[in-house]
Subunit: 385 residues, 2 copies
C-alpha cells in the first residue's frame, strides 16, 4: 500500500438547515474541500451517512451526491456503520487510494436530522442498537448509555459532577469554532442544573443532533511532495466491532473495540499514546469520552474523569480533546461526525485551529464510535516535515 | 495491488423466510461460504444491504452480523448502493484484500423484505430513485422502469411479446436451481396474459422481492496456488454512477454507467465481450436486461430483444444470462442480488451449475444495477489454469 495524505477539507456549520437539502449540505462541504485542495478532479466518492433512508426518504447517496457535485459517471458508494459511518467512509477512501485502485477520493459525512420529528429520529438512532434485544424492548439510545454510566459511577465511585469538565471544555472550545452548533460557555452550575434525559445523563452529558456535512479529499502522499501545502499523512487506520448488544459484551465498562482499533492504529503508525498531541474522540455522552480515554491508553481503567477534573483535556492540557467543540458542542449529525473529527484534526495539524490551537500539534488521532461501542474506527494523522 | 480470488461461496434459498431473522439469513450464507472455503478465519466483513433500517428497524449490520458469525472484534461495515449494494460489498472486499490491508474478507449481501407490508417495501424501494424529483411525485420504482420501456418500444419498434424470452429463459433455468424463489416453467402465453403492474411492465417482466443472503470469501490468489480448489480470480472490478433521476440523463435508453463500468472491467481484465462465457446481468425488469446487453457490447443499440428472440441467451447460446434464474426467477432480495450473481458465476466457472451449466465456462461477468441505472458495478471473474 502506498502512503496517502489529506489534501483538502471542508465543512458546513452544524445547525437546523431548513433551507438546504441533503445533497446541498454534502455538496457545500465537498465544494469547500475541493476549493481547499485546489482541484475539482476527484476519482471516487464515499459517503458516510446513517439514516437518510428513513429521515429523508433517500438512499443511494453515492449516486445522489456524485451527480450534484459534478462527479457523474465516477464511483459513488455509501458506507454505514451507525454513528461511525463518517470514519467508515474515510477509511474506505483511504483504502481505495492506498491500494492504487483510484488516484484520489472524497470522503464526505452527511446527516440531515431536523426534517424528521424527534420521535422518529429517536427511533432511527435506536437502529444502531440490537433490534432483537435492545431497541425492540423500548430502550432508547440515551437509555443504553445511561445504563453504562450508572454502572460506571457505581463501580468506580465517581459523582455525576466529576464529568462536568468534559462538557465545559467542549463548550469553551466551540466558542471559537464558527462551524459549531453551540456558542455558549457553560459552568459547573449549568451542568448540574441541566434537565435529566435518562438518569444520570442530562442534556449537558449528551450531544445534540443536527444537520451538517464534512468532507476530506485524499491523494497519494507523493502528490504533495513538491507542493506548498502542509502534508498531513494518514499514518494509521483501523476498525473493530464488538457485540452490538451491551449485555453480550465481556465487560460493559470497557470499550474493547476502541482498545483493539487504537492499538492497531498505534502499531501501524509507530506512535504511542504519549505521542498523540490532539485526540478528537467520540463524546456523544460524557461517559463515552471517559471510556474512550481509558481504552486508548490515556487513563487507567476507571480513571477517565480524573483527566477532566485535572483540566488535562483542554487545548493546553496533556491530552486535548473536543478542541473544536466535540460532539457535545460542535454537534453530532451522526453519520457526519467522523468526518468532522478528521477535518478538525487536520486543522490542528496544519496550525489552523485559531484560539483553540494545540501548540505545535504534529500527531492527531480521531475515534468514531458506532452504537454503544460496537463499531469503533480509529485514525492517526501526522504532519510530515 | 495483488491478485485476489474467490475461495468460498454460500447462499440461502430466496423465499419468505418467516422463521429466520436478518442475521440468521446472513449467517447461513456466511457459514456455507466458510464451509466451502474450509476456513472460519476471515479478517473483515462487508455487508451489502439496502433497506434494513426501515424494513427491519436494524442498521449497523457490520457489527450485528460480525458478532453472530463469530467475527467479534473484526472489522464490519455495511455498503449501500441501493439495488447494487451486493456488488458494492463485493468490490469493497476485493479492494481491501487486493490492497494488502486485510488478509481475507467476506462479502455478504442480505435483505429481508417480507417482514414489512408491501406498501412500505414499495416506499423503501423508491428511496433508490431521486426523492426530490421522482419518488416524492408518487412515482414507484416499477413506474420508472415502465416509462423507460414505453419509450424503448416506441423508439425501436418492438412489441411487448418480443421481451418474453427473457422471462422464459430465466424461469426455465431456475427450475434447476434449488436456491431459486420460483420453480415453474412459463410460456409465451403465460407472459402475455400476466397482470400489468405499470404498463407495459407486467409481473412476468418484473422480478419478485424476497428474503435471502449470499456470500463469498476473498483471499489473495497466491493462497490458492498449492490448493486442489479451482482458482477463480477477480480479473476486473469497476463502478460508475449516472444521474439518479432519469430525466437528467443524456439518454434514458442508454445505460452509460453500464457502458463505463463494463469498459473499465474489460480493460482491467484484458477480455472483450467476445470472451465472456456467462453474464449474470441485472434483469430486475426485462427492459433492464435489454439495456444491459446493449451497453456492455453484446447487442447493437435498440437490438437487445433480438438476442432473446434468437435464443442466444440460454446456457448454450452466444451470451448466456440468468443461468440460475436471474433476478426474475431466482429472485431479487435487493441488497443481496449482487452477491447471488457472484456466487452463480463462480458456480459456472467451477463447473458446478448442473443442468444449466454453460459448457466449459472460463470467463464470467456480473453486473449489478442500482436505481434505474444510476449506480452500476461490473465484475469479471476468470478460472485460472
Amino acid at each position: 500500500m502506498r502512503d496517502v495524505a489529506v489534501i483538502g477539507i471542508g465543512q458546513t456549520k452544524i445547525d437546523e438547515h431548513w433551507d438546504l437539502s441533503l445533497k446541498e449540505l454534502a455538496g457545500n462541504a465537498i465544494f469547500a474541500a475541493m476549493a481547499d485542495a485546489e482541484t475539482q478532479q476527484v476519482d471516487s466518492l464515499y459517503v458516510g451517512n446513517m439514516m437518510s433512508g428513513s429521515a429523508n426518504k433517500q438512499q443511494h447517496l453515492g449516486s445522489y451526491i456524485a451527480d450534484w457535485v459534478g462527479m457523474r459517471y465516477h464511483e459513488g458508494l455509501r458506507i454505514e456503520a451507525a454513528c461511525s459511518s463518517g470514519a467508515a467512509a474515510f477509511r474506505s477512501a483511504v483504502m481505495a487510494v492506498a491500494s492504487g485502485e483510484v488516484s484520489s477520493a472524497i470522503a464526505v459525512g452527511v446527516e440531515k436530522m431536523t426534517d424528521s420529528p424527534i420521535s422518529e429520529i429517536t427511533s432511527d438512532l435506536a437502529t444502531a442498537a440490537d433490534a432483537d434485544y435492545e431497541s425492540d424492548m423500548g430502550t432508547s439510545f440515551v437509555a443504553l448509555n445511561a445504563l453504562i454510566m450508572q454502572r460506571y459511577i457505581f463501580e468506580y465511585g465517581w459523582k455525576h459532577t466529576d464529568f462536568a469538565n468534559f462538557s465545559i471544555n467542549a463548550h469553551a472550545n466551540a466558542m471559537h469554532n464558527p462551524y459549531a452548533r453551540f456558542h455558549n460557555k457553560i459552568t459547573v452550575d449549568d451542568f448540574l442544573k441541566a434537565h435529566i434525559v435518562a438518569d444520570p445523563i442530562n442534556i449537558m452529558d449528551a450531544s445534540p443532533v443536527g444537520d451538517g456535512a464534512a468532507a476530506a479529499i485524499i491523494v497519494p502522499l507523493e502528490q504533495l511532495n513538491n507542493s506548498r501545502k502542509k502534508r498531513i499523512r494518514v499514518a494509521g487506520s483501523a476498525a473493530s466491532t464488538d457485540a452490538i448488544a451491551i449485555h453480550n459484551r465481556k465487560d460493559p465498562l470497557w470499550l474493547f473495540a476502541a482498545e483493539k482499533s487504537s492499538k492497531a492504529a498505534y502499531n501501524q503508525s509507530g506512535f504511542t499514546p504519549a505521542d498523540i498531541d490532539v485526540f478528537e474522540l467520540h463524546d456523544a455522552f460524557t461517559i463515552m469520552a471517559t471510556l474512550s480515554l481509558e481504552a486508548c491508553g490515556f487513563a487507567e481503567r476507571g480513571q477517565g474523569p480524573r483527566l477532566a477534573l485535572d483540566n488535562e483535556i483542554t487545548p493546553t492540557g496533556r491530552i486535548p480533546i473536543a478542541t473544536r467543540g466535540g460532539l457535545k458542542a460542535r454537534g453530532h449529525p451522526v453519520g457526519a461526525t467522523g468526518m468532522y473529527q478528521i477535518v478538525e484534526v487536520v486543522q490542528q495539524l496544519r496550525g489552523e485551529a485559531g484560539q483553540t490551537q494545540v501548540p505545535d500539534a504534529r500527531v492527531g488521532m480521531t475515534q468514531n464510535i458506532g452504537g454503544s461501542g460496537s463499531n469503533i474506527i480509529t485514525h492517526i494523522l501526522v504532519r510530515e516535515p
